[in-house]
Symmetry: C2
Subunit: 361 residues, 2 copies
């Protein structure tokens, strides 16, 4: 099977080689040194300010979304939540669950965020803002420079979910005034699903230490304390952390984050240049599309997007990514993250062409 | 390195083969079928009553300890917590964090639970009880028949942490009147650390649906609903779940849980029979020792247990398991779970003999 979903994605051979090995015992100085290196390289690739630290969470991206809401905010905050799709909606639900007062900026699926939208909330007494870098359900990339400037001029704490965007799209904590940001193991890092990673600046760490979190597993203060000696409070997905180390070192020696972003951009552009002749419409305009995924609507009347996913899976041995919810029958997505070759993209285009020939698309 | 810790432990070659493969997309009927089979086999091996279900949690054993406390109990409960070591103490802390009223049964490290201890709490108005099957910090195995009888006659909901005990020591939900029980991926199942699994009888499920849990990631009602279609609410450690499936099927075709328990018993007995001549004292008497681990105290004055762990790691390429906390310098542990051969045990005994010869032990 070829995998064009947005996670788990295809792993590099180097990652698979480590996966095949035995997993070492981890309460050792040897493993601590690896963790310290992981922390340093993640801070470097997120362009984090000095003093930043990393929370290594064994759990999905949602675990770190929830951990962030619990540790960074309280009932004394007033948070702006951008809800531009199913992941934005998850932030809304998390604020509700944890009694964090919030105002929702509800966007249509795929709609970008604008200066005009944000300016309405200037001087609104907001203390926090949360949003996705890339709303994976539509593939829209939010303009984080715009958001960062807004947060800076309003003194707002900015928490960004870059679970699927990191490595594919540019994210700089310093330039974009981001206080805390997440990514996940099974997205562009192309490791097995099992962990998510949060980079916290000093202001974010301060919030963790001041906040009395009613949770053991999500108590970031405990993670920060254990992290000082390169450890986690609970047994992490040790194998994933070793694979992370190899991947981060490889990125570092292959041109770093700029080269990684550029590679993702080229891959997304190549795919998008190859679909122009097909009866598929990009759900998000090119200028606002993330490099991590392309959401597509079949333009021919009567074509069901979920059915296309099923046919491609069952008859061609390829996974594209179905949408959930309201748009399940209208939109499917093609991911560009993970170890995907040009030849594999060409193969997928051949499949689309064949479906057109068969009058199924 | 040879690994005699209690997790992560040595994986079987079959598990490593799967680890080396690409990880499939999982929102498919194909993966759902595997998950349904995982659920059925875990229920079978825990000897669960009909109607039992499984929560597949991406997170360490502690995640499922906390999830259990949050989902099974409320401030209206009155829970007995057996605190016989660092994992029992964790249950105490979890009840405190989540405002669950409790009474602590504090035992010395390694001390078994007795009929006399339990009888003091008969008719005490308790609604719940939580404890370890095997308190991994000492290796003591609690008499779960005794505990189950006590809970049954008092109408108490019994939640058992069998994270390290499952497969190594007998656990039967039916015979021991257990309502909910946990295990972890990196213990006797010998999979990579990343997941923990909770088996819930119908009473436990009812508590999850009635309880208004202030958490998204630990909302078991959501897991139970998604589980009906063989899915999880959030991206799980898909690779681990495929390895789990292969392992459970292999156990099933090799004599099932009885054979697995027997194999663990024999391995523990073999190790214990080989150390009789050494200046090491078993921290827990044989009759109360779990098959998953042996805690040992060096008997020679001046020998530091943590130093022994370090020497064996650095000079012999073997990990035994250090203790944390008060006993770090007095006790180390040797795990018997995972893919460990007789030859590897013999090698460890040779190392102990050599240390005696070098007058270090």
């Amino acid at each position: 099977m070829i995998n064009f979903t947005v996670g788990p994605v295809q792993m590099d051979q180097e990652t698979r080689n480590i996966a095949a090995e035995q997993i070492p015992y981890f309460r050792t100085p040897e493993f601590s040194a690896i963790m310290k290196e992981n922390e340093g390289l993640l801070c470097k690739f997120f362009d984090a300010p000095s003093g930043a630290r990393v929370i290594f969470m064994t759990g999905s991206g949602t675990a770190s979304m929830e951990g962030g809401i619990m540790n960074f905010f309280t009932s004394q905050d007033k948070v702006l939540v951008v809800n531009g799709g199913s992941f934005g909606h998850r932030f809304v639900e998390l604020c509700q669950i944890h009694d964090v007062p919030f105002t929702e900026i509800k966007l249509e699926l795929g709609q970008p965020i604008t200066k005009e939208t944000l300016s309405k909330f200037d001087n609104g007494g907001y203390t926090g803002m949360v949003l996705q870098l890339c709303e994976t359900s539509s593939g829209v990339l939010f303009d984080m420079n715009l958001v960062g400037d807004f947060c800076k001029r309003n003194g707002i704490f900015l928490f960004v979910d870059a679970v699927s965007g990191f490595l594919a799209d540019k994210v700089s904590m310093k330039e974009m005034h981001i206080n805390a940001v997440i990514t996940g193991s099974q997205k562009a890092l192309s490791l097995p699903p099992s962990m998510s990673f949060s980079v916290l600046d000093e202001a974010a760490q301060k919030r963790c230490f001041e906040n009395n979190v009613k949770s053991m597993y999500f108590n970031y203060a405990d993670y920060l304390k254990n992290g000082e000696r390169g450890q986690t409070p609970f047994t992490p997905a040790v194998g994933t952390l070793l694979q992370l180390n190899e991947k981060l070192r490889r990125i570092d020696s292959n041109g770093g984050i700029i080269a990684a972003n550029e590679e993702a951009r080229k891959r997304a552009e190549y795919f998008r240049s190859r679909i122009a002749h097909l009866p598929l419409k990009m759900f998000v305009s090119s200028e606002h599309a993330s490099n991590c995924v392309t959401a597509l609507s079949p333009t021919k009347i009567g074509v069901n997007a979920h059915k296309i996913f099923e046919i491609i899976k069952d008859e061609y041995g390829i996974w594209i990514c179905p949408n959930a919810g309201d748009l399940a029958e209208k939109v499917f997505r093609v991911g560009h993250i993970g170890s995907i070759s040009k030849e594999e993209i060409d193969k997928l285009i051949d499949v689309f062409d064949d479906l057109v020939k068969r009058e199924l698309l």
